[in-house]
């Protein structure tokens, strides 16, 4: 094999491994185990309060509260288990009488997020 062919051969091998390496990391990054979790209303535009928790962390135990008004009076609360990479839908009926409804969700490490809708 001539020296030029050896260089081409080496180049092709190096590029192949580089692409495999990048592809592996891309897959790894797109299936993260520490990308946090998210909460959202299933229907952002209606009065429906059903919300979803999507978990992309190793933690499983999640606590949620439904609170009413500016003073955040707790209406409902519960613990749920959401396995990493999964999501859980929590159906809620709108029973507010024209006030703000806040959904506050926290994990066992103290991370906290909230979403809300206002009906006044």
């Amino acid at each position: 094999m001539s020296s030029e062919k050896k260089i081409i051969f080496a180049l092709v091998i190096l590029l192949f491994f580089s692409f495999c390496f990048l592809s592996y990391f891309e897959k790894k990054q797109l299936q993260p185990s520490d990308a946090g979790w998210e909460i959202y209303f299933e229907d952002p535009q209606s009065d429906n309060l059903t919300f979803i928790i999507e978990n992309n962390t190793k933690t499983k135990k999640i606590h949620w509260k439904e609170m009413a008004g500016e003073s955040n009076v707790i209406i409902k609360e519960a613990d749920i288990l959401v396995v990493s990479g999964q999501k859980s839908t929590i159906p809620l009926l709108n029973e507010s009488d024209g006030e703000k409804i806040t959904i506050e969700v926290s994990d066992e490490l103290g991370g906290k997020k909230e979403i809300h809708k206002r009906f006044n």
Binding site: S2, I7, I8, W37, E38, Q45, K113, E114, R118
Partner: protein, 646 residues
Amino acid sequence: MLELFQSQISFYLTIALVLFVPGYFMLLAFFGKEKLGVLERFIAATGLSILITDFLMLVMSRVEILFTRASLVITLLIFSASCFLVYRKRFKKAPGVAETKASSDFSFKQTLLIILILFLSIFIRSVYLQNNLPSSSTDLGHHMYWSKLFAESGKIQNYTQREIVLKDGAYQIDAPKPISDFVIGEHLIFTAISLISGASFISAFPVSVLLFINIFSLLAVFILSLRLFEASPQNKNIAIFALLFCGALFVIDPPQAKFVGGGVIGNILGNLLIPLTFYFYVRFLREKESVFLFFALFFSMGLFYTHHLSGLIFLLTFVGFVALSFLFNFQETKQVFFSQKRSWQSPLLLAFLVFSLVFVFIIYTPTYLTNSAVNTVVGAVKKIEHTGLSILQFRNVLGEARFALGAFGILLFLAPLRKSISRYSFLLLFSWISVITLISLAPGLVKISIPSGRVANYGVYPFAIISAFAFISVFGQKDFHKNLLVPFGQKLIIGAFLLLFIFINLDGFSDTTIYLKGNDSAKKTFQTFNASEYLATRMKKTDLLASDHVYLFADSWVKLFFMRDYYFPSYRANFERYENGVDKKEFCTRDMISNPGGELGEKCYSDLGTNFVMVNKLMDGAQFRKLNNFWQVYSNEEINIYYRNK
């Protein structure tokens, strides 16, 4: 696992089909295996394939053949097979016998060194780029929108943009207007690769393709150096050191891995095509064969269909080179222009002339010509980033070692020390370096208004070549001390060599240690993609979204989830763009995020009908939380989404 394996195989085959096969067979059809070495053919095939794919897709679009996997594969295969048949017919009598004639035979140590440099070049770039996955850069997001649009619609669309304007006292989004920021050649290869391989635009594939092109641009410099210094017995060593100086040193700094990760597609393509274009001109001037001129012209034309700034740098260098050739190499240049009539009048060149005219006037005219964008480049320098760099800034862009050696190389060129270097090689390199230096340092003198920093980055490649020349001129010969003007002792020279080599490597690798530290960009990108996906599945066609470029990571990629318009979602730009009086003349995009409850913010929401907004929760969440008409409907680690309930 099987799916991953299949997608990988499909991707590699597509890369070969789009970025190698058509160019390889076209080179075979024109040169056989005689005039280009194996390595030269392999490297030139990549640049040529990019241009052929672009041109074929432009023709397909013109004759209204939709871009699909089948149509693209068939077109590329028909073209390649036709070239192969021509090759078989033309070179039937001596198939593959004279392959070694044009090949360079490297020694074992040289081969090993080249492979080591390539290994370092690819390895460090890959390690850096894995921190940039999934892709998040602003430029790449913008570019991929167009590539995806062409892929989804199956044809080329006009580059247009919409803006918010005030009409009759009310804000509205005006009709689409042509934009000149993009050139078609920057996008078509990504469209082709995605359609054929099925790879998603929101994946590692664009970065992998750019890495591929970037590596081949280093090799283009390598083969160009081999030919520029062909008259020197040290040409292989010069080429190897040119590869080292532009490939393995300053690996991350622009225009290398940072440009790859940043998606600066035009510059990356330009840095491949410019050396290849010069390569064919150098071959023509040396060998006076019209087939080399044909390819030189083909690459020159391709540059203008790929990237306007690269095209301009090439054009100015070429004009400078011709002028310098008439001044300092009159006899030979006169002969090339006036006595080589047979070369100029060859049917091949006439065919090229017809091809280029048909292409420009009938098939596709680059948008920057139809939009008169040239007028914005030529003339007085207006923008601050166009006013030129200081010498210190220029040195930092090129890298201290490259800058110092490059300057020394120019002095060596000017000294009557090197008789073995062809005059054309010297004049071409001198013109290339002078044009880039002049536009980078004093654009006002040449009345060209383009970003000085971007232009300076083009200097890396010619400076790498001339640095390699300087280095080898001093240290690369057995009796090197006899070449020096001052007769130093041999031990002193060896000491100087070691010191210089250590300095070059320390300087060249210093950027690597800074950039290779991990970061959390993937995590942030993931948040933006998740939030975008949430909206894309829930927003109706009548809903409108405002987003933010200042604090949202990877925000330019949001539009790829909607594919409604290049302007969708509207976004708050960097604050200085609202203040310079040139870039942003409306303030809706700013106030809808910064002050949504203010008079202007309210009016903009009301007039435009924007009802969703996506912001960084820490930086911009507060002003929305206190407003009664905004519902916080989504929250992740970085982003909150608000719905404006009228």
